[in-house]
């Protein structure tokens, strides 16, 4: 059996999630914001897999599988949007995309 318990994995996933959240808040490049979101999804997956082993249930793995699928779909659509926005405005700085601001 694996000698490492669940807690270290949860701590690591927590740290990665916070780094991702920090990236979303701090970076203005839309692509980097996207990458930070991927980092957050990944850290959540890591926590799910760790808990799946803790409880001996494969359902956690299945959930991770779904998250990966949704992430792939989201990245495809999001990057297509970014390409279109860049074509329109020659910039992907999210501070300059303010036309939806109320």
């Amino acid at each position: 059996m694996n000698p490492i318990g669940t807690e270290p994995y949860i701590v690591l996933s927590m740290v990665l999630f916070l780094l991702g959240a920090l990236g979303v808040l701090m970076r203005r490049n839309a692509i980097l914001v996207f990458m930070s979101v991927e980092l957050m999804l990944n850290s959540a997956n890591l926590a799910l897999v760790a808990f799946a082993r803790e409880w001996g249930q494969v359902n956690g793995h299945v959930f991770v599988f779904f998250v990966m699928t949704v992430a792939a779909a989201e990245v495809a659509v999001g990057l297509a949007l970014i390409v279109n926005i860049f074509r329109e405005r020659q910039s992907i700085n999210i501070d300059e995309l303010q036309q939806m601001q109320g």
Partner: protein
Amino acid sequence: MEWLFLAVSFVAVLAAAMMLTRQNAVHSALFLIVNFGCVAFLYLMLDAPFLAMVQVTVYTGAIMVLFLFVIMLLGAETTTDTSGRMRWLGLAGSVVAIVLLLIFAFPIASDMLADESPEALSSRARLRVINAIPGGDAEVFTVMEMGFAMPLAGTVSANVALDALDETMADSRMDGIVYGDSREAVRGYTEFEAGDYTVLVGVDDGNYVSGPIFTKDLILPAESAFSLVVFENDEDLVDVALLEDDISAPAVGMMRLTLFNAVTDRQVSLVDVGQYTARRSLCEDASCNSLIPHRTLIDQLPAGEHTSLELDEGTYNLAFVDQDQNVLRTLADYQADRGLIEMRVLVREPGVPGSQASYRAAVYHAFGVPAFGSPESVGQVLFIEYVLPVMLVGMLLLVALIGVIVLARPDALAQAERRRINRRRRVNRPLVSVISQQTGSDVLSGDYLAKLPGGPDDGSAE
């Protein structure tokens, strides 16, 4: 193991931090790939090899290639990041991150995770009862007195009484356990909470169950599987044998065969006779000086005992042989399918008195339980329990694909704009009134028509 985890997680955190601080977006993407690779390695350490491979394929492969492709397509490697106006967001983000870290760290610091016991969910034990009495004993089977010669009619009802009081008796009954190779009836194990049980087995004559013919105390540990075989022993008494079944998946390309010998006075061997089929004996001649070529798989199994072996997949000609080299039963063209877990119970069937006894190798299947986190286990859960979500996620991917194609059409926006302008320019008035408005003269009046070439007063016509 600890140092490996520490090293990998250090690299993961370092790569994430580098990703955040690089100005060049391509460098950020490459550091994110390192981070995803580290997470895939951690999945391997967490007994999730399938997810590790999916992580490498989908995340570090497909998604990151998409990112790099878009970055390079747009030439957006060095987009200036700080617009000055929003610089305070960095400070705010740091504060939010520290607060979140404290909130998340609180349960771990106060040991709230360790209080739960993970054994609560995985404490199931499996039990099945196998009736290996072919209905030949009038003391046990009343159906014999009704003149049934066919052995399939005998039933034994098992009553599993629980020590735990919270579970009702009805849930723990296994009714109508019929002799024979009735796969549907015996294939599935009944699941119980792990613990100590007393099993009472009574005779079922179809109308009511009469008193327990035997009781047996069982200890069912968690994650175990047992077969309780009811058979006749040497003194023609009903006896029970408790077999612990190995229901872990067999080695790759193998099947597992368990043999239980319920023939009282014989020691049974299982041999692979190759092409020599349909024989009554293994002997070459009547004096039995030599045996036909064969390969012994199970040697001299005494009555009431069991043993198991793993067979390569393929087709075999198997024979059950007693200690005098008499072939009791043959299994011609026996298909050994990979991953199969099979139990054979060899019993003597009561024939017509005076005739030769016939033997039967009743078959009981079991599902192999694949190793935790393996592709088989994930696939079983994915396509049995979660079929509908799988379909919905597949639909989502399809919709996303169509959406991307629509979004990325080269001039989708320009076309929409053109369509809008065209709609505005559409005119509902007759063309002549438009012309008259633009030229300032009434094109329908006679003197204007006269000036036109080909008109009534056109000089060129003369």
